[in-house]
Amino acid sequence: MSMVLLDVRNVKLYYTTTKGIVKAVDNISFELDEGETLAIVGESGSGKSTLAKLLVRVWERNVSLVDGEIYLEGKEILHMPEEEFRREIRWKRIAMVPQASMNALNPVIKIGDQMTEPLLLQGTGKDEALKMAMDALESVGLPRDLVNRYPHQLSGGMKQRVIIAMSIMAHPKVVILDEPTSALDVITQANIMNLLKKLKWEYKLSYIFITHDLSLASELADSVAIMYAGKLVEIGGAEDIYTNPSHPYTQGLISSVPTLRTDKTLSFIPGEVPSLINPPSGCRFHPRCPFYKDRDYLKGLCDEKEPPMVELEGKASRKHLVACWLYK
């Protein structure tokens, strides 16, 4: 049995907006083992990026509530002083590849200076920081002298490699990848996924891989968590989720994914993702759920009471959990 590296318990993050409170992440718990990759899959507005921001404690100013606990190797990190988190945890223990960050590279600062900045702020010496940056560039398949170049001299795929190099530079345990290949072409995407696999094996990294794409998730995921409207609806080993999806939303999502090599009839989930300001009562998926429509005994249950997390029998070593009244 491998060790639990990250233990996330009942975390919540709400935003205040002019229209009301947005419950972007609402009571989510999961564990991440050492060396494990957990893919968090959800559509836009499911709260998956907010969850990523919660884990590295970078969030927007309009946050009205942050609650719950996150333990990294047994130590609570969500409520520790920001100064301590910045010095000891961010970059060093938990690093992040934020969404579309390759476009956030500063165009007038050399790659090397941008890469070493967080290390210098943490008190690493200048020469050592530069060496760490060059080592990191090398391990993502880029030349060491790239530190002297500017972002506009690089292609999209190279910029994304620089961002990945930055994330692993300080040898973190956990790397959070938020849509690391969005806006890249398919072949470049495949090259980046190959790189992420290689880094994972080489450095025994744990990834939290945030994506909307179930096919892409299977490129890295040992385990998969499915989010819907701010809630975790299903989590389990990749084999269980892909071959035995149990939550009606997961089932709908999987049958809507086009496949190239196999023939299957595609279907779709009618309706739209609900607003997180005023989400449906009970199970947030019930207005779109085909089972709720068909089965009378679910009336008064799914639409009123929040579903419990039920453990299903699974093949993988990770527990297969589903938040659905069908299995109670």
């Binding site: 990759t37 892909y242 994914v257 496949t259 989930i269 009618p270």
Partner: protein, 338 residues
């Protein structure tokens, strides 16, 4: 036996839409007195699309697929080659002449981004009515057609939608309005440029199903431009794979996808994951590097710097297009009998 072009035997002369050795370049002027340079966005592309047939144009960003689509509906004018529509040579026709042959009515387009392709100040009713007003169709018929189009894209009941504005609709609903607008003039030919790439997975399939239904019911010639072969699979009959502005491979969709011949096509197809948990245990064998800058493309075959099979000749000479398998055409030296 209907004729084909001799130099491009995959192009049939009796098709509704024909492009023959098409080249569309953009000009860039580096300085006031400097010699202009060209970005060869579409460089020698030939194809034909029959009524009732969908051709998928697949390529990465910068491969020229959007430029090709826009040239084929004459939003752009090519610098050489010919474009034919229903027997008319429309390559260099002026806008008035295009209107005279009914080209603008018989052709329409669905764009990628439903957030920017609909005017936010216009109601759905007006967005759909405008193309009909231009054609001088009576008010009674306009109303009928608007309701019918909304029903076809499954925005029902239509009276709930006609008075809304784009911002009141979700992304999927907006894209359906864009499709309704494209079909309202009852066109013979539709170009859809990445119509589902901005939408979430669960909505994507719904839009694809609607497009497929419409295409089959109206027997239109359909051009589906995309970077995503797996969505194209659901309603494409033929596929043309482009690389760096040029032809790479053409043939029946399933045949090409199952057994691609061009090294670029092989890489492109290998790069696409299907949802399968065993993917995480293997590395994908794809070409390294990224597509070239089209202002200064590589000599010879444009794919040679990334190609695992590159030979000497690939660096020096542009490959010809050959029929490597019955019906499958490839622009690659590997398949040239020498």
């Amino acid at each position: 036996m209907p004729g084909v072009f001799e130099d491009t035997p995959w192009v049939r002369k009796d098709s509704l839409v024909i492009a023959h050795r098409l080249r569309t370049y953009y000009t860039i002027k580096p300085g006031l007195f400097a010699k202009p340079r060209y970005v060869k966005a579409v460089d020698d592309i030939s194809l034909s699309i029959d009524r009732g047939i969908t051709l998928a144009i697949v390529g990465e960003s910068g491969s020229g697929k959007t430029t090709l689509g826009r040239t084929l509906i004459r939003l752009l004018e090519p610098i050489s080659g010919e474009v034919y529509f229903d027997g008319n040579d429309i390559t260099h026709m002026k806008e008035e002449e295009l209107k005279k042959i009914g080209f603008r009515r018989r052709v329409s387009m669905v764009f990628q981004d439903p957030y920017s392709s609909l005017n936010p100040f216009h109601s759905i009713h007006f967005i759909l009515e405008e193309p009909l007003m231009v054609q001088g169709i009576s008010m009674k018929e306009r109303e009928e057609r608007i309701y019918r189009a909304l029903e076809e894209v499954k925005l029902t009941p239509p009276e709930d939608f006609v008075n809304k504005y784009p911002h009141m609709l979700s992304g999927g609903q907006r894209q359906r309005v864009a499709i309704a607008r494209a079909i309202i003039t009852d066109p013979d030919y539709i170009v859809a440029d990445e119509p589902v790439s901005m939408l979430d997975a669960s909505i994507r399939v719904e839009i694809l199903t609607i497009l497929k239904d419409i295409q089959q019911r109206h027997k239109m010639a359909f051009m589906y431009i995309t970077h995503d072969i797996s969505t194209a699979k659901y309603f494409s009959d033929y596929i043309l794979i482009m690389y760096a502005g040029q032809f790479a491979e053409y043939g029946p969709f399933r045949d090409v996808v199952k057994n691609p011949l061009h090294p670029y096509a092989q890489s492109l197809i290998e790069a696409i994951p299907d949802p399968d948990p065993s993917n995480r245990l293997r590395e994908r064998k794809v070409a390294p590097g990224e597509p070239p800058n089209l202002a200064n493309p590589p000599t010879g075959c444009r794919f040679h710097p990334r190609c695992p099979y590159a030979m000497d000749i690939c660096k020096k000479q542009e490959p010809p297009v050959v029929e490597a398998r019955p019906g499958v055409f490839v622009k690659c030296w590997l398949y040239v009998k020498r």
